[in-house]
Assembly symmetry: C2
Homo-oligomer: 165 residues x 2
């Protein structure tokens, strides 16, 4: 089994080697930043690592709390928000609007119009990019005379793993 790219299917798999997810996300991020000539600084890298500490969406202030003590000084809000802004610009992290929280992108490196799946039971956040959804949204919007720039699609429900409990 190759090491890459089942990342997007793992969010709802109860037991998996999550440390591999983190390693893969960090190394993909490093490669992407390298290629783009932007800097994955220690602060940014640490925030990304903490966002990836689980498949659940993470709150900005929880990141701050976890970074207390490990930086020279305590991490203040701007530090964390700036890192998150950078990571979102690079497509490495998504903001989950319905939760005011942040989740690592399992398929960074290409821009996409993802749809998020949020399990209300276990809190895990998965991601899909369904062409039929994209197409239907585009069609419907254009019938309404509306030109779409960005989209927020978040489905709340129960993931497969939680259904079979």
């Amino acid at each position: 089994m190759p090491m890459d790219s089942r990342l997007e299917e793992l969010a709802f798999e109860a037991a998996h080697d999550h440390s591999a997810c983190v390693r893969e996300a960090l190394s993909a991020a490093a490669a992407i930043c390298e290629e783009r000539g932007v800097r994955l600084t220690p602060v940014r890298r640490r925030v990304l690592e903490l966002v990836w500490s689980s498949h659940q969406a993470v709150k900005a202030y929880d990141l701050m709390a976890q970074m207390q003590g490990e930086m020279a000084q305590a991490a203040k809000p701007p530090t964390v928000y700036r890192a998150l802004d950078f990571l979102m610009e690079q497509g490495l992290v998504h903001r989950v609007d319905s939760l005011n929280a942040y989740v690592g992108c399992p398929t960074p490196g290409r821009t996409h119009r993802e749809q998020l799946l949020i399990c209300t039971e276990c809190g895990a956040v998965g991601e899909m990019e369904d062409p039929a959804v994209a197409h239907a949204l585009g069609e419907a919007a254009s019938r309404a005379g509306f030109s779409v720039q960005r989209q927020t699609v978040e489905l709340q429900g129960i993931c497969g793993a939680c259904q079979s409990v």
Copy 2:
């Protein structure tokens, strides 16, 4: 022309008799609450009226500011949030997650899975309920083994009126 139900098409129409929108929204709300045996109290009615003061999404604290002086005492956060919670439960108002703001529902009275259209130019928020979108989302989610309970679909872009400027 009947008085009812073009409400959902008016959000992006530059010039229309908006006072008619407000009247219609309020009378529909009164009828719905009557029928359901729930109370559209003065506070709730006033909040709904203010939410409908335009087709743009309204911030909770702006509602409070507008209600200063007109209530016996100043409107405090719980007053406004409770009214908004009630109006959302009754499907009279939607929360726009990507804006932390609230907008009147143009087609209350039936529950639905709406998709919001948010114009980044004029700020107007329209709403559609496209069966193909609903179907595509349902299909894609169920292929992912995910059982959907609620959905947040918000498209940011430019409305027809703003495109033709």
